[in-house]
């Protein structure tokens, strides 16, 4: 039984600490992990912009990388959603690749999904005595149906003071290339998201997608706000370390 990490290009190059936290949590649970190094990007930037040929090239690296894996775990609901929801349509005209794409789309899990639904773990014994709010990312919730899993994990963190984010399910305005292509609209969206985060008076904003968190976090810093932005895996991992 082979469990592999799909790190995503964003976490690989910019947020390696997210991949590390995820790996440590899973290893602690007794999972033997692999990292097939031929992986690159899921292709979503090209796919969403309409460049499907370019997206397919990128997608092929993943199909090759994870061909012999039984489970693939990723720290991003969006990239997982891309594979799970769109790979079959991306390869709809290529019967051989379509079979592989369908198989792959069934084997990939977002981190909290894997932890809760596959491993059956909802409490990893973390202690995190801070005021925390949570942004549920659109693709994780809507393409993958992950609604309760992150909340269950957070609910079992000792000492946490959880506060709901107003309009939590509204998109933060990231949308990949949308943020650059329609930057003014995207800017208005993230400005409002940050207002809502500030309203909660939380010390920490937690999420399950570094794209959204890069956007919201970038806006928080731009406005000089001190809210700490963390991936769920980072928060849990730090919480386990703090316990001792």
């Amino acid at each position: 039984m082979k469990v592999s990490i799909f790190i995503t290009c964003l976490s690989d190059a910019i947020y390696p600490q997210v991949g590390e936290a995820m790996s440590r949590i899973l290893a602690c649970q007794g999972v033997k992990l692999h990292f097939p190094e031929v992986q690159t990007c899921c292709g979503q930037p090209a796919f969403n912009s309409g460049y499907w040929d370019e997206a397919r090239t990128s997608a092929r690296t993943l199909l090759e990388a994870f061909d012999d894996s039984d489970f693939i775990v990723s720290p991003s609901g969006s990239c997982t959603g891309m594979i799970h929801h769109y790979y079959p349509s991306l390869f709809k005209d290529d019967p051989v690749m379509l079979t592989k794409a369908r198989e792959f789309s069934g084997k990939i899990y977002e981190f909290s999904q894997f932890l809760v639904n596959v491993l059956g773990v909802t409490d990893i014994g973390a202690h995190f005595p801070h005021k925390v709010t949570y942004h549920p990312s659109c693709h994780g919730t809507r393409l993958l149906g992950i609604k309760e899993e992150p909340r269950q994990l957070l609910a079992n963190v000792k000492g946490i003071e959880f506060v709901e984010l107003p309009f939590a399910e509204d998109c933060c305005g990231f949308g990949g290339t949308f943020a650059v292509k329609m930057s003014e609209i995207s800017g208005a969206m993230v400005e409002e998201k940050v207002q809502h985060v500030i309203e909660t008076e939380a010390e920490v904003l937690v999420g399950m997608d570094m794209g959204c968190l890069m956007n919201i976090g970038g806006r928080l810093r731009y406005e000089g706000k001190q809210v700490r932005v963390m991936h769920l895996a980072e928060l849990l991992h730090e919480g386990v370390k703090q316990k001792v």
Partner: protein, 502 residues
Amino acid sequence: MSTTFNPTTTIKDRAHISLNDEFLRNAVKYTTEKLRTSKKLASDELGNWEEWRERARQIRLHTIAHLDYYLSEFVKNARAAGVHVHFATTAQEAVHITMRIAEAKGAKSVVKSKSMVSEELHINHRLEEIGVEAIETDLGEYIIQLAGETPSHIIIPAIHKNKQQVAELFSEEAGEVLPPETPILAGFARAKLREKFLEADIGMTGCNFAIAETGSMVLFSNEGNARMVSTVPKTQITYMGMERIIPSLDDLEVMATMLPRSATGQKLTVYMSAITGPRRQEDSDGPEEMHIIILDNGRSSQLGDPEFQEVLNCIRCGACLNACPVYRHVGGHTYGWVYSGPIGAVLTPRLNQDMEKWGEVSYASSLCGACHEACPVKIPLHDMLVYIRRQKVEEGYTPASERMAFKGFKYIMSSHRRFKRIVNLGKTGQKIIARDGAITSKIGPLKGWTEHRYAPALADESFRDTWDNLSAELHVNGNKMAPDVLKRLQEAKRRREEKHHE
């Protein structure tokens, strides 16, 4: 923001105008939030919302899959009830049919109840050109007609106007100052429109649903104006998109459950009229002559297209507009044509069949999927937006610089070695612009990003650089999966395979 239909502007230009209109943004936010909340209350109160959605979706899927059959049934039954049924392939043809009827009747004035299809025709302007006065009688439509604008929402056409702005418009029309108080403003419109109803030669309506088995057309309204329009004038003209069909009265029950709840959070609209043919001898009111103009205008091109046929399932409730975080900030006129929000971003390029001019409207979405989640018939609008973007690329209407950028993407992402090299190059390159893990400079390709937020710097060591050490540390106690984990994985895999074989 004033009128739309300015072909020289881009979606970015129009968004820029809306984003700088504080009144518009506040008005749109206020109303869409209210509608979202009422929709949630109404659907929770109904219960089994997902089952209702699935039922509604199945009805629409079935009807559209057999549209030729149900459309001819409808036409047969409507004609048997005495309706003059006309088919218009284009908006232009529908205009000509309307003109011929208006001329034959020697019409001087027309009263209209709300019809989005009539907006595709610009019928008000065309009638004015031949000296026929066309008056909108839906309150919201009346407001924007006075303002010389077009609807900015499918259900709430004047959503972008606040009370003060309405009072100013009405005061100008009244020739006296009217205070911004709803009863006074509504009272003015009622008195003014009453005269118009009585003197109109033709009443024009839209059509929410057309029932194949009875030949009836069904109108949902809240102000009673649709009833006045369809009973007082001697001639009635109804505009109907060719996809408005449902098979039977039983299906209307489902639609009447879904449409008002999704649109405004009402259990039912104040008025629901099913009209079958013109006035019969025993009827106390109704038009002497009734025309239904069935419009194609790009709709039939969606039939048989596996990616887009479902867009014809739309029941025009506007729930996707209210749920859309982009619409929330930019309002309806930004989309540039008749329909706005996510459904507009799909319909505009698809019905106009013009990717060069309209393909860019599909970019007005972060692809968050809130539209799909809100849709009472589960149209995958977020998927369709991506298909439109792909179509635009395939037809060669994207800028050369963008095509180059994605060629670069393809080159880099096709090999992990190249990807790694590029990341390393970036690490060297960013040394001059990154401070404390962030990039703030508003130049070059990052400009769109950094104008609104800081960009993160690349990490000193990427995850793949650290993996060998990390892996050695993590798996220090051996290379095996823990037995209970193995059991869980086997169980999950078995469940997965069972599901796959179902």
